[in-house]
């Protein structure tokens, strides 16, 4: 990921989704009205959050197998990027819900599940912050990271689909048909998802590089002392 063409691609795709998301035709639906365009911005947050958490868990497993500190740094960095995107998803969802469901928080299964899984990931950072021994911190948090990911899957993908929910894609039939996502919307939605995943990856790699430099500075300080 040293090359930078994918960062340009991320900027191009997100820019396209901003312009296309506001200007292109969308289905005319009651209640949703013009807010249907929020889909181009709200849903990619969740897609990219899940992508970040998958990357984070992958590096956690790599750490447990090889015990290399780089994997621990990557795992925690991508978890941070995922939590940032997830919080943006929660807040945008609350604004959208306020105008379409009547209140920002209805206790909808999808909302609750997303909030709980974010809390599970907050606990991950609390766990990391509470252990000073580097190896212990890395090993424990890698194990917890896998647990957090496994907890997220039913909370976001399974339970909301088993219960009745106002959120599209919940309460039975999963998949994209429920989003009323016609071909015009797909033309903007999929590029937006790819663009935001790449942008999230960029944020994650910046954190990785920052933490690597910080580690080296610590090592230098140790040798000077």
């Amino acid at each position: 990921m040293r090359s930078y063409w994918w960062k340009i691609l991320a900027v191009l795709l997100v820019t396209y989704s901003f312009v296309g998301g506001l200007l292109f035709e969308v289905p005319r639906l009651f209640i949703l009205n013009e807010t249907i365009r929020a889909l181009y911005f709200h849903v990619p947050m969740w897609f990219s959050m899940v992508a970040m958490f998958v990357t984070s868990t992958y590096h956690a497993i790599v750490y447990l197998r090889k015990n290399n500190p780089e994997a621990d740094i990557a795992s925690s960095s991508f978890a941070e990027a995922g939590v940032v995107l997830g919080m943006l998803g929660i807040f945008t969802g609350m604004i959208w819900a306020n105008y379409t469901w009547g209140s920002p928080w209805d206790g909808d299964p999808k909302q609750n599940g997303a909030a709980i899984s974010l809390l599970v990931y907050f606990a991950y950072f609390i766990l990391r912050g509470s252990i000073s021994n580097h190896e212990q911190k890395a090993r424990l948090s890698a194990v917890y990271n896998i647990f957090a990911f496994v907890a997220m899957v039913p909370l976001i993908f399974i339970i909301p689909r088993m219960m009745s929910s106002m959120h599209p894609g919940s309460g039975g039939n999963p998949g994209f048909n429920m989003y009323d996502l016609d071909s015009r919307m797909r033309m903007v939605f999929y590029p937006a998802v790819i663009g935001w995943i790449l942008l999230g990856t960029w944020m994650g790699t910046l954190l990785v590089r920052y933490k690597n430099v910080k580690e080296k500075v610590y090592e230098l300080e140790e040798t000077v002392r």
């Binding site: 312009v19 005319r28 910046l206 430099v213 230098l220």
Partner: protein
């Protein structure tokens, strides 16, 4: 001529007109588009997006400089 078929066809036509009228009745921000004011919104959010991405590029470059100064 069977009246059943004709009335069924008429019913279909009636319902499709109803459906068509319904979708056109949905209030959308058509006025904002007609006036061209939507381009103002697009311009504003693009300025903010590019501002944030420019900042990301700035941070990226600073970090690259720092990485180069680090001893191997």
């Amino acid at each position: 001529m069977n009246w059943k078929k004709l009335s069924a066809n008429l019913m279909c036509l009636l319902f499709s007109i109803g459906a068509f009228a319904q979708t056109q009745d949905v209030p959308m921000a058509d006025g904002m588009r007609a006036e061209g004011k939507i381009y103002v919104v697009v311009a504003i959010i693009l300025v903010i997006l590019f501002g944030l991405i420019g900042y990301l590029v700035f941070l990226d470059r600073k970090l690259t400089q720092l990485e180069k100064r680090m001893p191997k």
